[in-house]
Amino acid sequence: MKPKPNPARSTLGWWYTTTGKARERQMLVTIVGIALALLFPVINGLLGLGWEAKAVPIALFIILALGLNVVVGFAGLLDLGYAAFFAIGAYSMAFLTSAQSPIPWVAQGNQVNFFLAMFISAGVAAVFGVILGAPTLRLRGDYLAIVTLGFGEIVPLVIKNTPELTKGTQGMNPIGLPQVPGVNFGSDPIPWYYLIVAVLLLTVVLTSRLRVSRIGRAWAAMREDEVAAASMGVNLVTTKLFAFALGASFSGFAGTIWASYLQVIAPEQFRFDVSIFVLCMIILGGLGNIGGVIAGGLLLGGVDRILFDWVSGIVHGIGAAIQNQDLQLMDVSRSRQLIFGVALVVMMLVRPEGLFPSARVKAELHAAEEDEGAVEQERAQVVDVER
């Protein structure tokens, strides 16, 4: 993998990985995107959509998707237990700021400041990321996926089974709120929205810079061919662990905000479905492409939180009009898994690179179609090397 040539340095030139027309387009999309994100509450108010409470979880899940994208999209390590770190972040937040905390010092009323607790919790999640990452270094592909899946199951179960620490299935409540003078985080979703968008922007900046940095190129090299990467001097151990730790800390960040926003957390909120939902976002949007991941997150989150309600409403309306009891009671979100399942299969069959793929992934996936014969030959060689 050849390093990208340094684009001509102009204002903001160091920022973009593309040049010419493509850069202009990228710049435009970025600016419009940020502006829309910042103006969303105003637009929402003007149009009377009433989506402010729905935008908060959608934005939060996009942070999760961006974090998972580092692990799966950049480093190529399939992680099916990502929700575990989300849970660890959320529970660290609760331990540090809740009156029900098992830490006596905190329970006596010395709640840690929200913003401090946020960073500590992200650090805790990162440590767990390394703890999980370290023993799995030797594993690849499917095996890694299954170990992470196992870890993702163990964490909520342990939380559930240790009620003396975590209050078990009952859940922990209340959880500390951010204290900002003049801002009420209690009941209004708007401050939450801005807090999450700020973290989201930070995540975008960090991950997009990381992607083109030395470690990002090491991830790409490792993803394509571990042996070749190692022989070119990439330290596989630190590179993998860094991907795990970083992905986990983004998830931890999201977890802290989620805990404080909901004010109650229980182990059932962090099951396997969450990991898969986030994975669907990045696969739908385009593995490895930050813009694509955001688009995928918006699309899936929108379908899940807005479209399903809307369609249910229409179905109920039709049911009421034609006096049909079944239609009036039908809940479209009950078919959520079915719809996502079909979407995953169809996506893999039709467009495995996602809706907005990164150029690199697209090139890889479509190489096969360009020249069957040459690819067959290449395959044969690859098989030889593997033996």
Partner: protein, 315 residues
């Protein structure tokens, strides 16, 4: 007293062996498919769940939804239910392969796995619509007979009931039959050839697609058989059953060495024992923690499993 009670231990071992039998049957489905196309068939556990629903629906149709008022064991109904589940699961598995996995055989490794996760979601939702979200009672149709207390006259915690006998006397012959098919038949030979080298098998005139479809059929049939045993043994089923069962069975397959038929059977029994012992000594809520910790530990220290051979850089 206190300390170590031998009969408590033996009772757990007995439960573990019987549970291990159907875990082993499901594990065989994973290992067959993985051995031949290196795909973790994520939907396999959910296929098993749908199998229990087929059994339940067939028994309902035949008038045996409940054991109340039924004298003796309706063997013909059980046979019909089992055949129905075996055919249903086998055919459904082949269909899933044809639609969701076959077109992706040349795709990057991630693609079929994600497609399988999608199929698993679809199956779970079919189950949800079929029997609803609440656990369903499965009729308790087998004779209530405990060999230890009623035949031998020994009073202890250890039980070896007719149910245990039923499960073992169905599961073990099925496993032996599978081993025989793979070892002695023409299609079995073809399966081994494709597992070893797909390209070369193709060149030797083996219809690889047919062989792979047959592998999925075998896996599905075994899962269908396991589903009747599970239903009659545990007397309940629910649409979320598949995830747990699938993960346990996959662990068993990995424990034995994935791709290895004997290994999967052995892994199933070992896993059944482990989970029964965890339940006995730590309580039911720790069962899955024990299972998944075992999975992580095996993969970390011996990724080839108990009987697996060195496959090089396969994963």
């Amino acid at each position: 007293m206190g300390g170590w009670q031998i009969d408590l231990f033996l009772a757990a071992v007995m439960i573990g062996i019987t549970n291990g039998a159907f875990i082993a049957l499901i594990a065989l489905g994973y290992t067959l498919v993985y051995g031949i196309i290196e795909l973790i068939n994520f939907a396999h556990g959910d296929l098993f769940m749908l199998g229990t629903f087929v059994c339940l629906s067939s028994l309902t149709l035949l008038g045996f939804r409940t054991e109340v008022g039924i004298v003796g064991t309706p063997w013909h109904a059980l046979l019909i239910a089992m055949l129905a589940a075996m055919i249903f699961c086998g055919v459904l598995n082949v269909l899933a392969e044809r639609i969701a996995y076959r077109p992706l055989r040349r795709a990057p490794r991630l693609a079929p796995l994600i497609s399988a996760i999608g199929v698993s979601f679809i199956f779970v939702n079919i189950g949800l619509y079929w029997q609803g979200p609440t656990p369903q009672r499965f009729p308790d149709l087998l004779p209530q007979y405990d060999f230890v207390s009623q035949l031998l006259g020994i009073t202890s915690l250890v039980r070896f009931t007719f149910k245990d006998l039923f499960v073992l006397s169905l599961a073990i012959p099925l496993m032996l039959a599978l081993a025989w098919i793979i070892k002695n038949t023409r299609i079995g030979k073809a399966m081994r050839a494709v597992a070893q080298d797909t390209e070369m098998s193709l060149q030797m005139g083996i219809d690889v697609n047919r062989v792979i479809a047959f592998t999925f059929l075998l896996g599905g049939v075994l899962a269908g058989a396991a589903s009747l045993m599970y239903g009659l043994y545990n007397n309940n089923t629910v649409f979320t059953l598949g995830f747990d069962a699938g993960l346990k069975a996959f662990t068993a397959a990995v424990l034995g060495g994935i791709g290895n038929i004997t290994g999967a059977a052995l892994g199933g029994f070992v896993l059944g024992l482990l989970s029964a012992l965890t339940i006995t000594y730590f309580g039911g809520q720790w069962e899955n923690v024990g299972v998944f910790s075992l999975l992580v530990i095996i993969l970390v220290f011996k990724p080839t499993g108990l009987l697996g051979q060195e496959t090089g850089e396969k994963a």
